[in-house]
Symmetry: C2
Subunit: 216 residues, 2 copies
C-alpha cells in the first residue's frame, strides 16, 4: 500500500496545514505560498512542499497554493470530508473533557458514542450523548459506523477496552492510558501518555542532572 511510504510525521503535520488554511480562508486569502505556510506553522517551506507533494501536485509554480482547494484536498486525504466518528471508552474526567472538546464548534471528528462500566454512569448523558455499557460496544459502533476509538480508562482496564474496540471493528485508537496495548497489527494505535510527557519534560529543566553522568 502506498500509504505506508508516507512518514507518520508528515501525516501529523497535515492537520496543522488544515487549521492554518482555514484561518486563511476565513481572512479571505485565496493564495498562499509555502513560505507563508511555513511562517504560520513553524515548519520549513521545503518540508511543507515535500509533505504536500506526497499526495500530488496541488500548487501552481510561480504562484502558490489555492487555499480553498488545498484545504479540501487535505480534508480528503485525511478522510475528514464527510465527518469522522469516534467512540470514547471511559466517562471519567478526561473522557468528559474530551467529549466537551469534540462537541464544541464544527469539528470534523466527533464523539458519536460513549462507553463505561460504572452503573452510575451508564444511562446518563454527556454532551447529549448517552453513556452505554461497554458490553454494547460492538453493536453500537457497527450501527453508527464508528471507526476510531479513544481509550480514557485506568491502565488496568486499557487492554480490555482495546480488545473490545478491536471486536467492534475499530481501525485506529487513541490511547490515553499508561499501558502498552497488544492488539492486532492492522489496528493503528497512537498513545498519549501524560505521565511520559510530564516526566520527560522534567529532563529539559534545570532540576535535571545529566551532568553528573559525565564520563570524561
Amino acid at each position: 500500500m502506498r500509504k505506508s511510504k508516507i512518514p507518520e510525521a508528515a501525516i501529523k503535520r497535515l492537520p496543522v496545514y488544515l487549521r492554518v488554511l482555514q484561518d486563511a480562508i476565513a481572512s479571505e486569502i485565496q493564495i498562499i505560498s509555502s513560505s507563508e505556510l511555513a511562517e504560520r506553522t513553524g515548519f520549513s517551506p521545503e518540508q511543507i512542499r515535500k509533505d504536500l507533494a506526497y499526495f500530488g501536485a496541488f500548487g501552481t509554480r510561480g504562484v502558490g497554493y489555492d487555499t480553498a482547494l488545498l484545504s479540501r484536498r487535505i480534508s480528503r486525504i485525511l478522510g475528514l470530508h464527510q465527518g469522522v466518528k469516534a467512540a470514547l471508552v471511559g466517562a471519567g474526567h478526561l473522557g468528559y473533557a474530551l467529549s466537551r472538546y469534540s462537541q464544541s464548534r464544527h469539528k470534523d471528528v466527533t464523539i458519536a458514542a460513549i462507553f463505561d462500566v460504572s452503573p452510575q454512569k451508564v444511562g446518563t448523558e454527556i454532551m447529549g450523548i448517552e453513556v452505554n455499557h461497554v458490553s454494547d460496544m460492538a453493536q453500537v459502533c457497527r450501527e453508527r459506523g464508528i471507526k476510531i476509538g479513544i481509550i480514557a480508562v485506568p491502565a488496568s482496564e486499557a487492554q480490555q477496552s482495546g480488545e473490545l474496540l478491536a471486536e467492534a471493528g475499530i481501525e485506529a485508537i487513541l490511547n490515553f492510558a499508561p499501558a502498552k496495548l497488544r492488539l492486532p497489527p492492522e489496528i493503528f494505535v497512537q498513545n498519549i501518555d501524560l505521565t511520559i510527557e510530564l516526566q520527560s519534560l522534567a529532563y529539559y529543566t534545570s532540576a535535571s542532572s545529566e551532568d553528573e553522568t559525565q564520563a570524561e
Copy 2:
C-alpha cells in the same frame, strides 16, 4: 551542552523504563535484562541498551540491570528524584482532569499551582489547590520553585499564557492549546494537540482516501 546530543525520542522512553522498573521492583525482581525490559516496554533490547548507555554504564555484563539502581538513576537523569512541581494554567475541564490525574497516587510530577482568569474560578479549590489569578503567576511560581508549566486554555489565550509562564521563570511547557507558541528558544515546549491526534488518526482508517490521489 551534551544534553542536546541525546535524541528526544530516547528521553521519552525513559519514563517508560521507569514505570516498568517500578512494577518489577514491586514484584521483588532485583535484576532485569534488556530483553526482559524490551518484552515489557515494546522497544527493542538494543535500543534500550543504547538509550541507557547515553547516560553511562548502568548494567553488569552477563547479568543485566539492577532494578532498584537503574530506577534511581533514571529518576535522577530526568530530575524526578526530589519531586517536580508544575503550574497549570486553565481550570477548565481538561485542567480539572489533569490535576486529578497528577494528584492521584504518589506522582513525582505534581501540580503545585493552578491559574485562571475567571472570577468564578479564582479563589476556589481544585484537588486541594487554590486557583489563583493569572496575574499572580510570576510571584507564586517563583515562591514555590515551579519549573514546568501546563497550558490548558483556549487557543486564543495560549500565547499570553506562555508569555506569563516565561516571565514566571518556567523552563519547560506542556501545551494542550491548538496554537504554536512563540517563546524564547531556551524554553522547551512540548505540544499535545488533540485535534491533530484525532484528525491524523482518521488517515489510518478506511475512510481515508489517499488512493484518489492518482495523477489525474
